[in-house]
């Protein structure tokens, strides 16, 4: 028992010392937020026609994309007609541009050929492969829609409009205009990525490339035929009968319907530029879906994509169509580094007042608990070393940035960390006051205090976890630091405070002293 306590005590102090040693030695510092350190500022200038409403929508879309990347606490504002994206801690301007430039370029590209990357993945034949998803697009007002070919490999060299895949008719059953979707002949051997490229290598149109699909298939796609701009920002996932589908409105005129119909008529006729009749919906180089076109011209102005979607699939696709389609085209007009909004004086003020606060807390502990306060002090030092190392590591690897509210959160967490000691010591005092030996009291009071600390920290951690999962921006930053402080508290109480106090209670040092000014009875007086 005693040895294990020693091992735990030495272990945690060693871990903290090594961690802080490494962190300080490597010269890394946690990167700071926009308010404290500044970062990169990208100004996006809208091009072409736009109105205020479209700009608002565009800002929301850009925000959701930048947030999704996970850069800590970005700031996205509209300044006049331009959109300003401020990214904290990003010193490298090219990287900042990459982040904004990479986000959500939605393209529509004809599929030249598709195949399984997995050699065993597509051997099922369409006749029996009724578990495979089939996408069918049908305009709401009449006319056949489009369906994605059954998953097993599609042989694109032989147009097989007359064969009907038995699985497709169920997916369009909910619409009035049910047409058995043309299936595609399965081939026996699956084509892997390389051979897909080889077979058509001679007559590939310029701009063709092989892209991976979200479904695990590889697609050889032609040049970009349209962008997400052909759709309105109103894609929605609907349930029809028992299957989910996605409906999206086409933008009218040359910007939308015309481009879309040019693409679909090419595919519908299985032109050489679109031999599979499939249109790949590509987001950031990934094929999200590749439905088969079911109609040459979409007169209703509405596109419906059906298939063997789960609710999640449908909602995801709808979100991609909606967010992918920024209603305004932007050009990066300026990339600048931006200075902090608060200035170095507030950072210094926060740090100095934090240290003063820490010193005051230590004085309070010393006055109230006397020499036992040393345990509080060492415990806090271990805890701060561990947290500082973790924050530094994560800000280097995950772009975590410490903003002023994060620092304030850490200052507040000092109080919560000290509370664990107070709960423990107060219990210990009670036990001692009711006449138990120090050694006995320490063990008993730790058990009680551990339960309390665990219950209270669970609530804090729950708060941190929920906020971290479900929010963005500065709330998320706060949640991270709260969660880290809570975890550190639990770890310190178990691995540091417990062995330190239990060992102190047994030590020769304590045999001649009283703890908290309460004389302990001589061993003989305590009932055995």
């Amino acid at each position: 028992m005693k040895r294990r306590l020693f091992a735990s005590l030495i272990g945690i102090v060693l871990v903290a010392a090594v961690a802080i040693g490494f962190t300080v030695g490597s010269g890394d510092r946690p990167s700071l937020g926009l308010d404290l350190q500044g970062g990169a500022s990208i100004t996006l200038q809208p091009e072409g026609e736009y109105d205020a409403l479209a700009l608002d929508v565009a800002v929301e879309i850009i925000r959701s994309r930048v947030d999704a990347i996970g850069v800590a606490e970005p700031e996205i504002i509209r300044q006049g007609d331009t959109v300003v994206v401020n990214l904290p801690g990003v010193k490298d301007q090219q990287r900042a541009l990459d982040i904004v430039g990479r986000t959500g370029d939605l393209q529509l590209r004809p599929v030249l050929q598709s195949g399984s990357v997995d050699p065993t993945g597509g051997t099922g034949d369409t006749g029996t492969g009724n578990t495979d998803p089939v996408d069918t697009t049908v305009p709401e007002e009449g006319g056949p829609g489009e369906a994605r070919g059954a998953r097993p490999m599609v042989d694109t060299t032989v147009p097989t409009t007359d064969t009907t895949a038995p699985t497709t008719d169920t997916t369009v059953a909910a619409t009035d205009t049910t047409v058995p979707a043309p299936g595609v002949e399965p081939i026996d051997a699956t084509v892997d990525e390389e051979s897909a490229g080889v077979t058509t290598a001679n007559d590939l149109p310029e701009g063709s490339e092989v892209l991976l699909g979200r479904d695990g298939f590889a697609y050889l796609v032609g040049p970009v035929a349209a962008t997400g701009l052909v759709f309105e920002n109103n894609a929605s996932a609907n349930i029809q009968g028992s299957s989910w589908s996605v409906v999206v409105q086409l933008r009218g005129g040359a910007e939308g319907e015309d481009i879309w119909n040019a693409l679909t008529s090419r595919c519908f006729s299985r032109d050489t530029t679109c031999p599979t009749a499939q249109v790949a919906i590509v987001l950031d180089g990934e094929v999200i879906s590749a439905p088969v076109v079911q109609e040459a011209v979409f007169t209703g102005g509405e596109v419906q994509i059906t298939g063997d979607f789960t609710e999640q699939d449908a909602r995801d696709l709808a979100k991609i169509l909606e967010f992918g389609a920024v209603p305004v085209k932007f050009e990066v007009s300026q990339v600048q580094t931006v200075s902090p909004t608060l200035g170095s004086d507030s950072l210094r003020a926060a740090i100095i007042s934090g240290l003063v606060g820490l010193a005051l807390v230590f004085l309070l502990m010393l006055a109230y608990y006397r020499f036992v306060a040393v345990i509080v002090f060492v415990g806090l030092a271990v805890s701060i070393s561990l947290q500082f190392s973790i924050i530094t590591y994560l800000s280097k690897t995950n772009g975590l940035a410490l903003s002023l509210s994060g620092i304030a959160g850490i200052i507040v967490s000092i109080g919560i960390a000290v509370d664990s000691y107070i709960v423990f010591f107060e219990r210990l005092k009670d036990e001692l006051a009711s006449g138990r030996s120090l050694r006995n009291s320490a063990q008993r009071s730790f058990e009680g205090a551990w339960r309390t600390v665990l219950a209270a920290d669970t609530v804090s951690f729950l708060a941190a976890a929920v906020l971290w999962w479900l929010t963005v921006g500065s709330v998320r930053g706060f949640a991270f630091f709260l969660g880290l402080a809570t975890l550190a508290d639990v770890v310190i109480v178990w691995f540091f405070t417990r062995p330190a106090m239990l060992l102190l209670a047994r030590s020769k040092f304590m045999a001649t002293r009283s703890m908290f000014g309460i004389k302990q009875p001589k061993t003989g007086e305590v009932a055995p």
Binding site: S353, G357, S405, V418, E426, W469
Partner: protein, 373 residues
């Protein structure tokens, strides 16, 4: 009673304050504060900052005569409060520029500042751009945060209900709502500007309040178990619990508040980082109400709720006072022991002030055969 001995009793956890008996005045005081908050919210609302409401931004080239301090001067000359202004220098290919954002201003102020800035820099006023800026705190951030909070409330209620009981979950959530409402009230009444940091402060208060309440409830639960076999009123149980944790609560509040007070005094008054000031005030108020509500709102609420149970309803009126309450602190689980404790209260009362160890010895520890849970 001298201050010294009062502290001694607090230090030894021997205070005998009848918190339960003071529940009505406490509820009344809290009710008044919450009412004031609601009135202030309805009449004035919150003073939302530029991050929520948007505002106006000026941008121009930074010159030798136009630096951040010069911009501050110009703003102040036009009657704009600069404590929450966002002043930034931008470094790009076309040299250094300076950007300042403040809350919304009327047209004449926009033009006046634009002219003044250009004058300071010695350039044409067209070279300083004026533009409306939108909020950086998007609607989606608020929606997501609210959704997360709702999920959190459900989870934390379930956790407390599982760990303790649902009545305590109810009381904890009520106490937390009380704390957050009063902290928001401080912002509404004093018209402090709400920034994203403020939202974080409110969340901190929410977490602190629940944390503190759970620590107190753990003691209440322990005492409920301890008195499970005796007929003990809930009033007594919460009184004993609150008195037992009083030293801990005061200590914790002090050690949590000290860094915040330091933030307020050292950071904001001495070092002049005024943007820390309102944040610190909100935290301070939240922490004080957090401790207050755990003892004066949450625990009495639990007692009131639990008094409806038949077991406690029968003895609801019996609340021990003074030394009689002090006797309950000992491990007296049988009626006979309680009686003995009550009889020895006179000798105890006198010994309390003299010294602790003799006090302890009047009640020799019972054999260590406590029921394990």
């Amino acid at each position: 009673m001298s201050i010294g001995s009062a502290f001694g009793r607090l230090y030894r956890g021997e205070t005998t304050v009848d918190y339960y008996g003071k529940r009505k005045p406490a509820f009344l005081v809290s009710g008044v504060f919450m009412l004031a908050t609601v009135v202030a919210l309805v009449l004035g609302g919150l003073n939302l900052g530029i991050d929520f409401k948007g505002g106006v931004a000026w941008e121009g080239p930074a010159t030798a005569t136009l630096d951040q301090d010069a911009v501050r001067e110009v703003l102040e000359a036009n009657g704009i409060d600069t404590s929450n202004a966002k002043l930034q220098t931008l470094q790009g290919i076309d040299g250094e520029r300076i950007r300042v954002q403040v809350g919304d201003q009327p047209d004449e102020v926009r033009v006046a500042v634009q002219k003044a800035l250009a004058e300071k820099a010695g350039i044409e006023s067209q070279e300083v751009s004026v533009a409306a800026v939108s909020s950086s705190w998007g609607r989606s951030i608020t929606l997501k945060a609210i959704r997360a909070l709702l999920v959190f409330f459900v989870l934390v209620s379930l956790y407390i209900a599982w760990r303790f009981e649902w009545k305590m979950a109810l009381a904890a959530i009520a106490a937390m709502a009380h704390d957050v409402l009063i902290s928001v009230g401080v912002y509404a009444i004093f018209r402090f500007e709400v920034t994203p940091a403020t939202v974080v402060a409110f969340l901190t208060i929410l977490g602190y309040s629940l944390y503190d309440t759970v620590v107190v409830f753990d003691k209440v639960r322990e005492n409920i178990d301890r008195f499970a076999t005796s007929k003990m009123s809930m009033g007594n149980i919460v009184n004993v619990s609150s008195n037992q944790v009083l030293a801990r609560s005061l200590n914790t509040t002090l050690s949590s508040a000290l860094p915040v007070i330091s933030l307020l005094v050292v950071g904001s008054y001495i070092m002049g980082a005024t943007n820390l000031q309102e944040f610190a005030i909100a935290l301070l108020v939240g922490m004080l109400t957090g401790t207050y509500s755990s003892i004066f709102i949450a625990t009495p609420l639990v007692a009131i709720l639990k008094n409806r149970e038949p077991k406690y309803a029968a003895v609801a009126g019996a609340v021990a006072q003074g030394a009689e309450m002090a006797a309950l602190f000992e491990h007296t689980t049988t009626r006979a022991a309680q009686k003995a404790a009550a009889e020895s209260q006179v000798s105890r009362e006198s010994s309390v002030l003299k010294n602790t160890s003799s006090n302890v010895l009047t009640h020799p520890p019972r054999p260590r055969k406590r029921r394990r849970r």
